[in-house]
Symmetry: C2
Subunit: 205 residues, 2 copies
DNA sequence: TGTACATCAGTGAACGCGCGTTCACTGATGTAC
DNA sequence: TGTACATCAGTGAACGCGCGTTCACTGATGTAC
């Protein structure tokens, strides 16, 4: 933060952080390059020393988001050991915690409409994060008899969709503004019922 | 569509439809009043005869969306009778079908970031639609013993979240670009497992 | 049926604005000797 | 330790653009008599 005068020192990262703040406030489409530049006290033209343009800046923000996301998921999963079930549930909670704590990253990742194809590094980060989720699903589904086991990728897609839906509909200002329950509860009970449906939890309440 | 010359005839609705097309293409933030006006062959200023501004136009699009959505849900639910279960599953399918068939409406409703409070008519339409979903949940949960019955609003929130998550992650170009399964299958199996978890479907596959 | 007039819907010009992007530039930093 | 020079990061002015919004206006439509 210390102004060293002419040279900023770490403008690139400062821009990413300013972009994240702006995204948090106004959404991924609602911020401009110039605003980000102004936020860090720099001329718009300076941005081009570090990024090809607006999209490139958002992509970098999203990339960093996937990094944090993946690490957080992995950490939560490991914390939950030795029970595969506990690990899985911890991962679900971590998902929501991430969305709450890093709203700018979350939006850059999931609501910016960036094409993954156009940003290979972003795609790589996203795939790595997704792999963590799938691994958790694989571990857990190993507890099911092989013949009743749904594909782990389907399993993790369900949980991911549920989590994402809870975030979008109930953890933000969106249409479900009057959220009927705390999102955390909603997600936890939802995952619970789902796991019971898979036979991973006893049918009794 | 017939040009009657000077007077358009039904400019208001034509603008809404142009807006929907633009939203489908570029997202709710990615279109401008001027574009919508140009799309129907009219001066930007003409828009102000019918709408207070851009947000008002989007709000009207969303409002119409909630109308269609609610009607579709209700129809699907009624079609599914007499089985509460069949009715519920039909409703789930209808959700996805709506998102597919009316992407502009869907985005205006769920991704535009409109404040429901600022648009009372929109809020009314949204509540009405939500009521349909809850009613379906109530009917279905009546089949459970009262002591094991989760609140219907939680129940419907779960299903809604799952549906929305599937739409956002797997039925659009978004991060899950390489959708592992057809969204329809994903949603159907997900709801199936969930209902089994509630005891509304037999535990065996 | 015809005429006069009120209402209405869209025009087109104008405004100020902030945007993205480019460019030659300059001041700061680092390094070779 | 000092000096000369290359490299680098950010400046500031400029551009053309499309935007939202306003305004007085005008042509079309509807209606009263």
């Amino acid at each position: 933060m210390s102004k060293q005068g002419y040279h900023h020192g770490n403008l690139r990262q400062a821009l990413v952080e300013a972009a994240l703040d702006l995204i948090t406030e106004k959404g991924p489409q609602g911020f401009t390059l110039s605003e980000a530049a102004k936020a860090v006290g720099v001329t718009p033209a300076a941005v081009y020393r570090h990024f090809a343009g607006r999209d490139d800046l958002i992509a970098e923000a999203a990339r960093q988001g996937y990094g944090i996301f993946g690490a957080l998921m992995e950490y939560a999963f490991n914390q939950g050991k030795p029970t595969a079930l506990a690990a899985f549930e911890a991962t679900g909670r971590a998902y929501l915690a991430f969305a709450r704590k890093y709203p700018g990253h979350y939006q850059a990742m999931f609501e910016s409409g960036l094409s993954l194809n156009a940003h290979p590094e972003l795609a790589a980060a996203a795939n790595k994060a997704r792999a963590v989720l799938e691994m958790a699903a694989v571990k857990l589904s190993e507890q099911l008899p092989a013949d009743k086991r749904p594909p782990a990728s389907m399993f993790s897609a369900h949980i991911w969709a549920l989590s994402h839906g809870v975030v979008e509909l109930f953890a933000r200002g969106s249409p479900g503004a009057k959220s009927p329950y705390p999102p955390e509860d909603l997600l936890e009970t939802g995952i619970g019922i789902y796991l019971r449906g898979l036979g991973l939890l006893p049918p009794d309440r």
